[in-house]
């Protein structure tokens, strides 16, 4: 089979990876404290938070996108407040995509980290407490270094999942070139205008990159690279 790779506009691909990198970094900062709280809190409200965090796993992305669109639009109280007080408009903007992606990919970051923490023997934390160490010291020096594979899984899944996002992005971002037109939307539009070759190019690039990312993840977690680099 001859694979046709056409010269295409690389903009959507760059935008996709920019979105994925920013989303992943922000989610790491946000996801670790949230996962920590979910893993160790005895508060009853954690069940509600846990359910909310998991919602994007089962809800159609268009549902999330629809509600975010309503919330972010200047017609709503929240959207108006953002616009007037912070000067941020989250509909049809890149910032809006980042916020949407964070919400959409939240479970992919939080769940592996939470599971990693829960599966650690509880006496590691207790031993650290008894040595007089603060919660933050324990988290940084004992807990996180012992769930490296969970952190790696969470990071890679979040990145890959954001790359594959479509519904949410389309709802709140539309398809503005260089602003909100990411690769998945570009593919959809190329197919719609019957440019199968361009669609194939975008698709093939995404396919290969995603495959490589997940392969590296599996090899790393399977210990294949042990000794090659120090984790």
């Amino acid at each position: 089979m001859q694979v046709i790779l056409l010269a295409i506009d690389m903009g959507p691909l760059w935008l996709t990876f920019k979105l994925a990198v920013i989303t992943t970094v922000l989610l790491l900062i946000l996801g670790i404290p949230l996962a920590y709280w979910l893993a160790y809190s005895s508060s009853r409200s954690r069940f509600i938070v846990e359910t909310l965090v998991s919602m994007p796993l089962v809800l159609p992305p268009t549902v999330i996108g629809f509600y975010l669109l309503l919330a972010f639009s200047p017609g709503s109280g929240f959207g108006l407040w953002l616009d007037q007080w912070l000067g941020i408009r989250l509909v049809f903007s890149f910032e809006g995509l980042v916020v949407g992606s964070i919400i959409y990919s939240l479970p992919f970051m939080v769940q592996p980290i939470r599971a990693g923490l829960v599966n650690l023997p509880v006496n590691l934390m207790e031993a650290s407490d008894l040595l007089g160490k603060s919660g933050l010291t324990t988290l940084r020096q004992v807990l996180l270094p012992n769930i490296k594979s969970s952190l790696l899984t969470a990071t890679v899944l979040t990145f890959a999942h954001t790359v594959g996002e479509f519904g949410v992005v389309l709802m709140i971002g539309g398809s503005i070139p260089e602003v909100t037109k990411v690769a998945s939307i570009a593919i959809y539009e190329e197919v719609e205008s019957l440019n199968y070759a361009s669609a194939n190019t975008y698709s093939a690039i995404l396919f290969v990159i995603t495959f490589v990312i997940l392969l590296v993840l599996n090899l790393t977690n399977g210990g294949y690279f042990k000794g090659l680099w120090k984790w």
């Binding site: 650290s128 008894l130 007089g132 603060s134 004992v142």
Partner: protein
């Protein structure tokens, strides 16, 4: 001086149990909480350490209150100056032996405080190994050293030796007694191993179903002294040995046997032996 009055409703395997104990422990003594598993020994230790909250009670260490439920006082484990040794060691897998010990240093404590412990626990050659590469006995030595690094007032040992085989156990018992004496500790150990209790502790609390049923000096509290040898052959464990006699623990009796006709080569404390009378003599056979 450690005073503790602790009461807690526990959900144990056999249903609910009410733990209700009063302990009064002399400064510098080595105390054992002895009893079957499920008697509440570990829960007592965890409440003293601050890892478990009593429903009601108080803990007072050298005149400082750690817990007083009436006053709603519950000191965090971080502020209790407790050394805790877990049954399964709880070493940090991401750190080497030396890093585990260095992590335990308090703020402003010189790292030279680690050196004598490394020497005492014979960890010199293992310093740069990760815990996963060590044997159980080695790991427990590291855990013991780590618990002592911040110079705790109180050393709590939760069945520290029950996962180890008898030979390593003897060695570790010596280490435990050594740090206890060397660092002027008050130690509380949880154990269900009678010979271990007899060898290590100055005082014992016997627990059953969450209550103290007996307490006192270990030998008079737990066993009776017998002269001579058992009437029938029995399996026992050597507690001590000197030029004239051998003391062997058989069931709950301590038999003192003259060593006149016994080849004491290969016999040492902790060894399991088969002890039996033949005419007027005694036969000691090594087990395992």
């Amino acid at each position: 001086m450690v005073k503790a009055e602790l009461s807690k409703r526990l959900h144990a395997m056999g249903g609910e149990m009410v733990l209700d104990v009063q302990l009064s422990i002399e400064k510098g003594s080595f105390v054992t909480l002895y009893g079957k598993s499920g008697a509440g020994k570990t829960s007592i230790l965890r409440m003293i350490a601050g890892l478990m909250k009593p429903d009601q009670g108080m803990v007072d260490v050298d005149g400082v209150e750690w817990v007083d439920t009436d006053e709603k006082l519950l000191l965090k484990p971080q502020h209790r100056q407790v050394g805790f040794v877990f049954q399964d060691y709880a070493l940090f897998p991401n750190m080497t032996v030396l890093q585990n010990l260095a992590y335990a240093l308090g703020k402003g404590q010189p790292s030279s405080d680690i050196d004598p412990l490394i020497e005492m626990m014979e960890l010199g050659d293992l310093q740069h190994s990760k815990p996963a590469t060590l044997s159980g006995g080695q790991q427990q030595r590291v855990a013991l050293a780590r618990a002592i690094v911040p110079r705790p007032k109180l050393l709590l040992l939760d069945e520290p030796l029950s996962a180890l085989d008898w030979e390593i156990r003897q060695k570790l018992q010596e280490f435990i007694r050594l740090v206890h004496d060397e660092y002027d500790l008050t130690s509380i150990m949880v154990s269900h191993d009678l010979p271990e209790v007899l060898r290590l502790s100055d005082y014992v609390y016997v627990l059953e179903n969450g209550k103290v049923v007996k307490q006192g000096e270990p030998i008079s509290t737990l066993v009776s002294n017998r002269e001579g040898i058992p009437r029938f052959g029995k399996l026992g464990e050597i507690l001590s040995i000197d030029a004239e006699s051998l003391t062997v623990l058989v069931d709950n009796d301590i038999w003192t046997v003259p060593t006149t006709n016994i080849n004491t080569h290969e016999l040492h404390p902790g060894r399991k032996v088969w002890i039996a009378p033949i005419s007027n003599d005694v036969v000691i056979n090594l087990m395992d």
